[in-house]
Amino acid sequence: MNAPLRRVGVVVMILFGLLFANLNWVQAYKADEYRTSDYNGRVQVAEYDRQRGNIEVAGRAIGTSRATDGELKFQRSYPNGEIYAHVLGFKPVNGVPTGIEKSEDEFLAGNSDQLFADRVRDLFTGNDTAGGNVLLTLSRRAQETAYRELTRNRVGVDKGAAIAIDPRTGAIQALVSMPSFDPNPLVSHRTDAAGKAYEALEKDKDGPLKNRALSEVLPPGSTFKVIDSAAALESGLTPNSNIPAGPSYTAPTSGTPIRNAHPSICPESQVTLIDALTESCNTGFAQLGVRLGADTIKEKARAFGFEDTELTVGRLNEGGLPVAPSRTGEIKNPDGSDDKGALAQSAIGQNNVRMTPLQGAMIAAAVANGGSQMRPYLVQQLLGPDRTTIHYTAAPRELRKPVSSQVAQSLQQMMRSVVENGTGTNAQISGYTVGGKTGTAQAGEVSDDHGWFIGFVMKDGQPISAVAVALESAGDGGSAEATRIAGQIMKAVIADRGGK
């Protein structure tokens, strides 16, 4: 009986060996995965032991943590959450943060390598010092104006976005997506209630969680004519050069005639380039696009930032909120030649051309900044728990140079004409130079047209702000209302800067 007893001993050792091997698998190999799992509440409790840093706009906290008596020691809260929701994002107890809460998570939580010195000090003092603070580029007045004007728009639209950029630096002055949401219920420590609130938002057909300013792509309509104009100017035309126009244009090989928004717009056979943009002459730009060719149009769009899949908006060195790429779409026949019908439609921002509001603002900003497009960003500065500024301060940098400064000057002149004499008069601000381009984009048979405005405001040759406003399915008067809202945002930026 001893031989089998010994074998049983070996069997037990094998069984325990299996347990040991499996423990190694769970506690060593998979440990990191389990530790950081979304289902793991432990790390969150530890995370809530330390006060999370503030997210601030012009010295006022729009995301902050206050002490509680619960197991989780700090409750995140967002004063005026609805106004800043899409920039802030939110930091739920069970789940993944979004927005700046996500992109600056490590610094806010105090885990960032940059705060290593503070952690070492904690080891000796025994305190849990708070996480770092994030200072945003937003202008409070511009943001509040953008939110108010967008949500109380006069055409009864419930979806849209507005964004304002400082053309000289790329700093984002306002970023609003409509409909917005209140992030506070989503960060409740009662995770079931928070989960329900999130589900309700997620199921909402208007998509309030979506950041339309960065990730919604819409046909840009006539705002795309700024890109056509840039390409035309580079091909040797001047604002006063004549281009073919007319009441109707049918591209070769394509049966659908392109008309103007109103019979009174450019019925003559020739019109100057500046007048074509001022009146938003569809037939003129459709023919111009066909003449320039698909490659030229696509290339110019790319020079302004179309097709950029890498761009994020946050810090300038790493991370940030994701941005959907704007696209010009396919404008070629299968044999490689231009599909002229599609090209004519694309030239007036229809067909498969899609643009984010951010891209619209970046086009206007590049024009206003003498042809230099700055990389947009949201994080102005990272401040340590003790408000030291050594961690990060934004150093603006040029993203690309879509046009020369001469072409930019001409485009400024043409876009000013739009606001002074054309479709963009709603954006006029006395004492300031405002330029822009309206757009009305057909969104297919079923829904109403989208209303667009992209533009800039300058003073004494210095750009102050570049703004894009998009109103989804706004119908008649959509672009005029978008233009008015853009003007209000520009005024708010000017007021916030003390008139400069």
Binding site: M1, R6, L19, A28, V43
Partner: protein, 497 residues
Amino acid sequence: MTAPARPAATPTITGEMPRVRAPKTRRNAELALLALSMLVVAAYSATIEANMLQTVTLDFWLPTASLAAVFLGLHVVIRLRAPYADPALLPAVALLNGIGVGFLRRLDLADVAPAQRLGYPVFAGTGGRQLAWTLAAVILAAVLLFMIRDHRSVSRYAYTLGLAGIVLVMIPAVLPRAYSEINGAKLWIRVGGFSIQPGEFAKIALLSFFAYYLVRKREVLSLASRRFLGIDFPRGRDLGPVVLVWMLSLLVLIFEKDLGTSLLYFGMFVVTLYIATERVSWLIIGLLLFFGGAFLAYFLGGTIGGPFANFYQRAEIWLDPFADPYEKGYQLVQGLLGLGTGGLFGAGPGGGQPDKVPEVHNDFIFAGIGEEVGLFGLSALLVLYLLVVERGLRAGLAVRDSFGKLMAGGLAFTLGLQVFVIVGGVTGLIPLTGQTTPFLSAGGSSLMANWLLIAMLLRISDAAGQPVTGNGPGRPAGVPAGPPAQLHGAPTEVIRP
């Protein structure tokens, strides 16, 4: 009967059997190891207080000291009644038991708001109750050592014990659900606020019966056979009892909804059968029957549900715990996440959040402890269990009678298998089943049954360590001197150090 612990008491045998050293009692080694165990438990308790109360209170040593007093009492009993017993068993088990009590007190503290923790009584809550259960269980073990002077005397009550075992197993199955079901497994007898797990005691009773039955039948079971594929298979009529136990374990699986207990009984029987007959064919038959049965239950659970649905569900959770992480898989997922969070070194005793895991004081205590002591600490616990099991098996190797060999081998293997089943379940190695973790889990039934098991192993190891000839101390007066009555296998007579 006096001064039984003197090795010099048996000088006569050295002349006859020169290879056998004069037996040592090694009781002082036991005492030293026990002191070491208690030191570790005290350090564990202090660390818990330091982490959870931010200070070590003046009372931190009280539970440990109480435990130490209880175990010291048992040590004295062993000195008196089982002087030749294995000296590693008591300290190893005492350490496990002490860690269990400490961890349960730690869970009690976690339930109290941080501000009130300092004033929380030392002997309150689950931890205090576990301490009381430990006292009861150790007294029970001491009584067994006192009452049963020779393990062979147990065989006299084999049929009574066998019947009692079957009744104990079947009670929860036939009781209405309200009196027997906790967390989906019908393993309990619940009266008022009191619940016992009869299966824990049944395993010892059943094993006594198996051992007796197999000693009687081992000749016929091991000799009469047919040869097939180079392996000797038993005759059909000899399969009867095996099939009976197999049916019993499947009934447990179906009606008590518990794979673990079923696996435990069946594994216990097959292994004792194998030890008795030395025939590998029994293991093969046993494994085939068990896995066949389990697979059938899984298949039936997936198709027709009914009584098999529970097992099917558990198997599904095991296959992918993250498929339903908030509902069905919640417990296992939280246990795994706790283990993963602990990582190599753990969060430190009192530094983790084991209370995130449901049933952490019971089935999932291994995961809860693992979060705080890490892979290294859990490995140490596993080694402790392995030590107890292998020491038990060694007692089986050294003891001279077949019944003792079967008892020791069966008990030790059962303990090891139970650890495998629950730890394997908690760590996702095998489907989770509702077993207690021996000596760690909160609960009196498990603690008492397992301490009885240890007492039995101590008794058998004492018999194994006793001198071969002469009127050895502790031997009943009626048993004649000289070689024991039942001797099987030539090498077993010699104690190999």
